[in-house]
């Protein structure tokens, strides 16, 4: 699991960075718009998962890495999703000139659907900790 996620994130990050440096006009759903920082962020998440894999192999606390990887990955995809929503409201609510031919696909980055497996794993894993983790509110 960790391995799959790690490789996926790594690839996505790599693609994004590649797109940044090559400046190719790839569609956003491949290149994440060539956003260098996003690419690096995705690589870091990938690295967390892969470290987790190594830890699992040597039978150490790989799980912690899986959980945190999911958390960070989830945050990143939330950020990109919110960016998409922001642009959408710009285009449809405010009718900004810069956004006349904006379509949601322009901002759709592959990090977004990663939200789903991350959230699923988190939800599943965190139940084990339920009793300890009580919110302070």
């Amino acid at each position: 699991m960790s391995l799959v996620l790690g490789l996926v994130f790594f690839t996505l990050g790599g693609l994004s960075i590649l797109a940044y440096f090559l400046g190719e006009e790839w569609p956003a759903y491949v290149s994440s718009n060539g956003n260098l920082m996003l690419g690096l962020a995705l690589i870091v998440v990938g690295a967390i998962f892969l470290t987790g894999v190594m830890r699992f192999r040597s039978d150490m606390d790989g799980e912690a890495f899986l959980i945190v990887g999911c958390m960070v990955g989830l945050s990143i995809s939330l950020v990109t999703l919110l960016a998409l929503l922001a642009d959408a409201s710009e285009a449809y609510l405010l009718m900004s000139e810069d956004f006349v031919d904006w379509v949601p696909m322009d901002d759709f980055t592959p990090a977004m659907p990663m939200m789903i497996p991350c959230a699923a794993i988190l939800w599943y894993k965190l139940r084990e900790f339920k009793t300890v983790k009580r919110s302070s509110s």
């Binding site: 920082m37 996003l38 870091v44 470290t51 990887g69 960070v72 990143i76 919110l82 300890v132 983790k133």
Partner: protein, 658 residues
């Protein structure tokens, strides 16, 4: 009405301020990391319509031996202030360590009430504690409370009232054993003979033995002071100190032995997460990713809100200019106030989002981890992780950040932190970056802003290193900081947090920035008869006077004027640009700026704004915290020089590259 004076004391991060807020209805700053509160704060609450309880919230301390300035505040208050009851707030999930302070308070002969806070967490973990037996053993009342869930508050207040009526007697809990007790009694006898001390004799002699006060300072009678000196010289002080600590902990364990059982709790999620986020290699990258996320949010998500505000203000400005009869008044309102202040208000969404993110950082407990991760890096420059906290807080505002340095023990490290933390870019500088990055680098604006922030951190680190190596030589002190458990922050406290900080920005827009805008407008309109914003105006003359100095950086005179007024507050910079650049007919500010500035000059300007003196308020605290005109002046001059140099380098290199 009966007045009761109460002090809240306790270890850091046990919920003293939360309890204070719950009791008094105040909204003091709460955060999930040790060292939030750095000064004392008093509030009142009435109880049963009969008692007025004056409660003072204090910074956290682990024991009565203070090392940093904030701890000293708490210490001094407890030892000297005229209070009836000391409430020790205790983290119920961490009883043993918290009770160390309890044993000391009992030695002092204060009326102590224990507030066993965070009882909700202890329950969740399955802890069991016989509270009645505990208070029997200690001879002092103990009450289970939960500050965040507001449970047990009435019980606590009645315990306070009861305690305030008890007669004051010292109830030392711990017998310090064969080695120490005779010495304590010997000194106590001397002190009694002297007579002139205010706190309990036992406590004073313990302070003397632990070397927290010197005999000469406490006892004015030369002969007795000398006798105490002699008794102290007889023994091995370190040995004695160790013995005292041991005895205290032994006593605590024996008290808790029969009545307290720690719940099993499953593996703690906090520990698991910490394994990863404090990982040697991944720690810093994860931190950077999270920071990037914060900036991405601040920049991108706020855009539609900003545009909406922007549009309404341009409409308003246009409406006013067209419908006002009096021409100068129309100009004042339209060109001056609405362009200036309105332009600053455009950035309110950014600021609010920034503060939400920062308060999440604080409330979850990640802030303490960030300090921990950075400790390795910071120790290379002779500071430690604690110095990183003011820097992170500085992302919001430098003023509280500089005050937060009070938790740093070593005065030199503290001074270095005070002088370097203004390079961490505060939210007031954000509008400048957002504006220029948005115009010049629309595609990578978020990234550019992020890089500017990193530049700020770099300047802070290099300056700290330079100071450490030259003016403020010295060794760093070791870094000890508790990592609080992660908590899911409550939406309510996050919103309150954000609103309090964010509304400050709006208030500023109504005061300092309004003033700045009007001043600049006046300078730009006078002397009578010049065309508004023309070079012949006073603003133009001022700008032209200084412009040659800034020509090597590629700034034109209007930028220079804006920078001068930026000393008031950094928001004024954009306000001023709004006033000055908005003037040209037919074009918006953004087009004007785009035509007037090259990309490299803009980057230079951003870094200049980043580095030069943040605002008058910051200078004010620097002066207050250092108590030194010399260091305050140093801060101004040094910042200006560095700002100039960095902007120059960026401009020059930028011209070559582009």
């Amino acid at each position: 009405m009966l007045d009761i004076g109460v002090a809240l004391i306790g270890n850091p991060n046990v919920g003293k301020t939360s309890l204070f807020n719950a009791l008094t209805g105040a909204r003091q700053h709460v955060g999930n990391w040790p060292g939030v509160t750095i000064g004392k704060k008093t509030g009142t609450c009435t109880f049963r319509r009969k008692y007025t309880i004056n409660i003072t919230d204090l910074p956290g301390i682990y024991s009565m031996s203070a090392r940093s300035p904030d701890e000293a505040v708490a210490n001094e208050f407890i030892t000297t202030a005229d209070i009836d009851v000391v409430v020790q707030v205790i983290d119920s999930t961490n009883l043993e360590r918290n009770m160390y302070l309890t044993t000391q308070l009992l030695d002092m002969g204060r009326q102590v009430v224990l507030a066993l806070n965070m009882s909700d967490l202890a329950d969740a973990r399955g802890d069991t504690l016989d509270v009645n037996k505990l208070s029997d053993f200690l001879g002092t009342p103990a009450v289970r409370v939960s500050a965040t869930e507001k449970r047990g508050l009435d019980d606590l207040l009645s315990a306070i009232v009861v305690a305030s009526n008890r007669e004051k007697t010292a109830r030392p809990l711990v017998n310090l054993g064969q080695k120490v007790e005779p010495l304590v009694q010997e000194i106590e006898r001397d002190l009694r003979q002297y007579g002139g001390i205010t706190s309990s004799a036992r406590w004073s002699s313990l302070m003397l033995i632990e070397g927290l006060i010197e005999p000469g300072d406490l006892v004015k009678d030369k002969e007795i002071a000398e006798r105490i000196h002699a008794s102290l010289r007889k023994v091995d002080r370190e040995d004695i100190e160790m013995a005292i600590v041991d005895r205290r902990y032994e006593k605590i364990s024996s008290v808790l032995a029969g009545i307290y059982r720690r719940g099993e709790g499953k593996r703690s999620l906090s520990d698991e997460i910490d394994k990863v986020v404090t990982n040697k290699y991944l720690g810093i990258p994860i931190f950077l990713v999270l920071m990037w996320g914060i900036f991405e949010m601040t920049f991108v998500v706020a855009t539609p809100f900003m545009d909406a505000i922007d549009q309404s203000f341009s409409w308003l400005a246009g409406f006013v200019s067209e419908n006002m009869q009096l021409e100068w008044l129309a100009s004042l309102l339209g060109d001056g106030i609405i362009s200036g202040v309105g332009f600053v208000l455009v950035f309110v969404p950014n600021i609010f989002i920034m503060f939400i993110m920062l308060s999440l950082l604080e409330d979850t407990g990640y802030l303490a981890r960030a300090a921990f991760i950075m400790d390795r890096l910071m120790s290379k420059i002779g500071l430690h992780g604690k110095s990183f906290i003011p820097m992170l807080l500085g992302l919001g505002c430098n003023v509280p950040a500089i005050m937060a340095t009070r938790t740093i023990e070593d005065p030199k490290s503290r001074l270095i932190t005070i002088l370097t933390s203004p390079y961490i870019s505060c939210s007031a500088r954000l509008p400048v970056y957002v504006l220029f990055a948005g115009i010049i680098f629309p595609r990578d604006a978020g990234t550019v802003v992020f890089v500017i922030y990193l530049l700020g951190i770099a300047v802070a680190i290099v300056s700290a290193l330079a100071l450490r190596k030259t003016l403020l030589r010295g060794e760093g002190t070791p870094f000890i900081m508790e990592l609080p458990p992660y908590r899911v922050p409550s939406a309510k406290s996050t919103v309150i947090h954000m609103w309090e900080k964010g509304s400050m920005y709006i208030r500023k827009a109504g005061t300092v920035i309004l003033l700045g805008a009007v001043m600049i407008w006046a300078l730009a309109s006078l002397p009578w008869g010049v065309e508004y914003g023309a070079e012949a105006s006073y603003a133009g003359s001022l700008g032209h006077l200084l412009a040659p100095l800034f020509a090597p950086l590629g700034f034109d005179w209007r930028i220079v004027v804006a920078l001068v007024f930026g000393f008031l507050a950094k928001e004024v910079v954009v306000g001023a640009l709004g006033v000055l650049y908005g003037a040209e007919e037919g074009q918006g500010l953004e087009e004007n700026l785009q035509n007037g500035m090259s990309a490299s000059a803009s980057l230079g300007l951003m870094s200049f704004v980043l580095i030069y003196t943040p605002c008058i308020a910051t200078l004010g605290v620097i002066w207050k915290e250092t108590r030194s005109v010399k260091w305050t002046a140093f801060s101004i001059i040094y910042s200006l020089i560095v700002a100039y140099a960095v902007a120059f380098v960026i401009f020059t290199i930028g011209n070559v590259v582009w």
